[in-house]
């Protein structure tokens, strides 16, 4: 299980491979804001300051949506669109821009 830290909420949670960060946020009650939950509205866009490599790749849909809101999207992810893909390591998430 990878460790996900929702920095804005002081939540540190072990998350199994394959689980989306949306599920993890919902289950832990992290304060990530969600809108459509299907990758359109970008309301759940969050910064991944550590562990980007531990997450699934950005799909074309996610890339397109992120490019609509920011020019530099290197550390940005939609929480509803990415899943944990590695057993080991720490992923640090924040929605503070």
């Amino acid at each position: 299980m990878a460790i996900v830290v929702f920095k804005d909420d002081n939540i540190r949670v072990k998350v199994p491979v394959g689980m989306s960060l949306r599920q993890a946020a919902m289950k832990t009650g992290a304060s990530i804001v969600f809108g459509c939950r299907v990758g359109d509205c970008t309301e759940c866009a969050s910064h991944v300051s550590e562990g980007m490599i531990l997450l699934s790749d950005k799909t074309e849909k996610e890339l397109k949506a992120l490019e609509m809101i920011e020019s530099d999207i290197a550390d940005l992810r939609l929480m509803c669109q990415c899943t944990v893909r590695c057993e080991e390591g720490e992923i640090v998430i924040s929605q503070q821009f």
Binding site: D8, V13, S31
Partner: protein, 409 residues
């Protein structure tokens, strides 16, 4: 359509529509004075730009006013500051009449546009700083998202110092005299609009005001109600005050606020509420208070909810459900800024005890952070269960104060 002084300035005219008889807007808002769907035309030396359209049923008014100001082949740009149907209702018709015009929307509007028009149309997506030119007129776009749609943007006409603010600074207030120094007293409608439309998005309001501050503004042209030209800064100041107020209230003498709301049939949920409040209040940096939902007015519910860093909600289970005042409390949440609130639920029960779970589910969808499982106690809490209630309150309060929560999924 007599009597409308359409000119905001030599190059900008009102071409919107009036809806004097509307009495309920968007299901939730009362509109005693009707409303308007404002739209504007900006004329430059190299063409015109249409700022938003109107609700579909009012398209005739819009096109009639538009045709008095320009011919369709002069239209170079159509700007939609957000895609809500009361402003995009005449879009497709307008694009058919002016096929050469370029549609301009915000980046966030792209997916919505596709869902709204259900056909492929050409557009340009813009973000803060993007500028378009009409020859001797220049318009800069400002991204002001979530006010009150995710795709909302504003724009600024440099030469006339006019801010096209979208729904920001709007009022549902019909008055064909149009301008704030000509119409009747619309201050109630201005405040009411803020309370119902903008209040849930306070952080985004403050973000938008920061962007607006970079520009000298002579006129604010919103999408509903009077055009604001008498003292535009006073409206900006009001939004700033209303949007920052709750932040200060969120602490009492520097302490965070935990509010315990409850209903009790036989004083059992009350006994839990007392212990939970006591436990929460025992944590350094917390002030905890309890409120009986049986006697709480809706406006007080809204204010208390908004000010609270943590909301702990208790209800007995009656006929397999939480009691109505508990649901009524949660029904207030869409009216207020709800980011990062911590929530928890509890209740005494006789037979089945679903109420705390049901309330917790609802709070999850309302974006509460819910770090602890609901606390349920069968009938009369004994000493051990009262201690459990005390610890429950203390745990929620400690998390409110920033204690790291460790868990495994």
């Amino acid at each position: 359509m007599p009597g409308v002084q359409a000119a905001l300035s030599p190059s900008v005219h009102f071409i919107g529509a009036f809806d004097p008889m509307i009495r309920t807007f968007d299901i939730i808002m009362k509109t005693a004075n009707g409303s308007s769907y404002n739209s504007y035309i900006v004329r430059g030396s190299e063409g015109v730009c249409i700022m938003d359209t109107v609700k579909k049923q009012f398209a005739d008014q819009f096109f009639e006013r538009l045709e008095k100001q320009c011919s369709y082949d002069e239209i170079k740009f159509i700007v939609l500051h957000h895609l809500e149907p009361d402003h995009s209702g005449a879009l497709l018709d307008l694009m058919e009449r002016a096929p050469q015009a370029k549609l301009i929307i915000s980046g966030r509007a792209v997916m919505m546009l596709k869902a709204l028009v259900k056909s492929e149309i050409e557009y340009e997506a813009v973000s803060t700083g993007k500028t378009i030119s009409l020859g001797d007129k220049t318009i800069t776009f400002l991204s002001t998202p979530f006010l009150h749609w995710p795709d909302t943007m504003s724009s600024y006409l440099h030469e006339e110092k006019i801010l096209f603010s979208g729904d920001v600074f709007g009022s549902h207030y019909y008055d064909e005299r149009l301008y704030d120094d000509e119409v009747g007293d619309f201050s109630y409608a201005f405040r009411y609009y803020y309370e119902h439309i903008m209040r849930p998005f306070k952080p985004y309001v403050l973000q938008a005001l920061k962007l607006y501050k970079k520009y000298e503004i002579d006129v604010i042209a919103p999408l509903h109600g009077p055009i604001l030209r008498m003292d535009p800064q006073s409206y900006i100041d009001k939004y700033e005050k209303w949007s920052t107020g709750a932040k200060y209230k969120k602490s009492i003498a520097g302490r965070k606020i935990v509010s315990v709301f409850y209903m009790s049939s036989y004083d059992n949920t009350l006994a839990m509420a007392e212990k939970i409040t006591e436990g929460a209040d025992a944590v350094d940096g917390i002030v905890a208070s309890m409120y009986d939902l049986a006697s709480l007015e809706e406006q007080n519910m809204i204010d208390l909810l908004e000010e609270s860093n943590a909301v702990i909600l208790g209800s007995p289970t009656i006929n397999g459900d939480a009691v109505k005042p508990a649901w009524d409390l949660l029904a207030c949440m869409p009216y207020l800024e709800n980011s990062s609130k911590i929530g928890a639920t509890f209740g005494s029960f006789g037979w089945t005890g679903e109420a705390p779970d049901m309330l917790q589910d609802r709070m999850r969808w309302l974006k509460f952070r819910l770090p602890v499982d609901p606390l349920k106690i069968k009938l009369i809490p004994n000493d051990q269960e009262l201690m459990q209630s005390f610890n429950f309150g203390r745990e929620v309060a400690e998390i409110t104060m920033g204690k790291m929560v460790e868990m495994e999924l």
